[in-house]
Amino acid sequence: MGKLPQGALEIRLTATLFLLLLGLADLFGAWQVGNFASFRPRGVAAAVAPQERHEMAMACCSTSTAAETPVEPASLNQPTHRIERELLVQDTHVHVPVYAMTAAFLAVIVLGLRMASAVRVLLILLAFAAPFADFAGLWGAHLYPGAGILFGGLAVAGGFAMGLCYAIVLVMALVQLWLTRKEIAHA
């Protein structure tokens, strides 16, 4: 453990490029979240809240009734983003494995960096706990809309925890692999 800074050029290059590419993916992920979800607990809760169901039929009435309201076709052109439980199931089964692989790769880099064992343990726990918190928050907000803001906050915290873990690993990797490498080697 902790030998990554002394690793061959291609090993250090692999770790660095992985981290930079992951950062790029994070930036676009953030854009996606801004477009279709939110960075605020209330927004997350609203985005994944269960669909209300108002049936168009009423057992009590014997005659169907209709009313018409004028509408401009252009006003219908606003995109609609529909989230259903099935979609949340699908996205969980797609995103959680990707999150797990990301956490595992970050953990491998953490194992190669020089740091105290306690910090290493903390970073690894953070990398794996973050996605759990993120999706626990999304599902909580969907299943228990009454506590939506609380669960939305958990989802946002999970997302930022992953970002924090990534940022720490990135900075430590860049510093140890490229900036202070000689100092370490001479020490």
């Binding site: 699908q90 999150y99 989802a155 900075v171």
Partner: protein
């Protein structure tokens, strides 16, 4: 240099991608679909309907489905004198990989003028697009009021199992739209 690195890291940290739900891909804008499908209409209206118990039971019996206000929207086009030109039903169909948005336009007699997939998720798009690019939606145009759409006649050259599954989803959506259109247009009329 370290300051720069810290600044970059802070930005990336703030921009972390928290879990998000995959968005729909909008294939066709609803307003454009309404206008293009009912070119003779001068005025457009949203038709809000409350179905009676018997009508609700009829649609449940015909399609196995209970429509809700959240998943269905009905618009009608009228000419300058207020005469009915046609109607358009938009609805969401649930599927294995997220909801599929479907629009069906009808003439004043209830014959299908045009049907389209308006929205679909990024993943099922790969299976739905071959159906659309093979002219699969044309099978609904001019379908007589009493004829039942057949998923096997929709883009038969497209053979993938998932595409065939989505053909069934789309056909089921058109069936629902047609069953609902009859009741919605009859509602409120003596």
């Amino acid at each position: 240099m370290r300051r720069t690195l810290l600044a970059v890291a802070a930005v990336l940290c703030a921009a972390s991608a928290l879990g998000h739900v995959t968005p729909n891909v909008e294939l066709l804008r609803r307003g454009d679909f309404v206008k293009q499908s009912l070119p003779g209409a001068a005025h457009f209206f949203e038709r809000q309907v409350m179905l009676s118990g018997p009508d609700g039971a009829a649609i449940l019996s015909a399609t196995g489905w209970t429509p809700t206000e959240e998943e269905v929207k009905v618009y009608v086009g009228r000419d300058e004198k207020g005469g009915l030109v046609g109607s358009v039903v938009f609805l969401w169909m649930p599927s294995e990989h997220g909801p599929v948005g479907i629009g069906v336009a009808f003439d004043r007699q209830g014959m299908i003028l045009r049907a389209a997939v308006t929205d679909v998720g990024t993943e099922p798009l790969a299976w739905v697009r071959p159906l659309l690019s093979s002219g699969g939606m044309d099978v609904f145009t001019g379908l007589p009021v009493d004829a039942s759409p057949d998923p096997f006649r929709m883009a038969p050259s497209v053979r993938g199992a998932m595409s065939r599954y989505y053909a069934k989803v789309i056909v089921e959506g058109v069936k629902r739209a047609r069953a609902l259109e009859r009741l919605v247009m009859r509602a409120g009329n003596p």
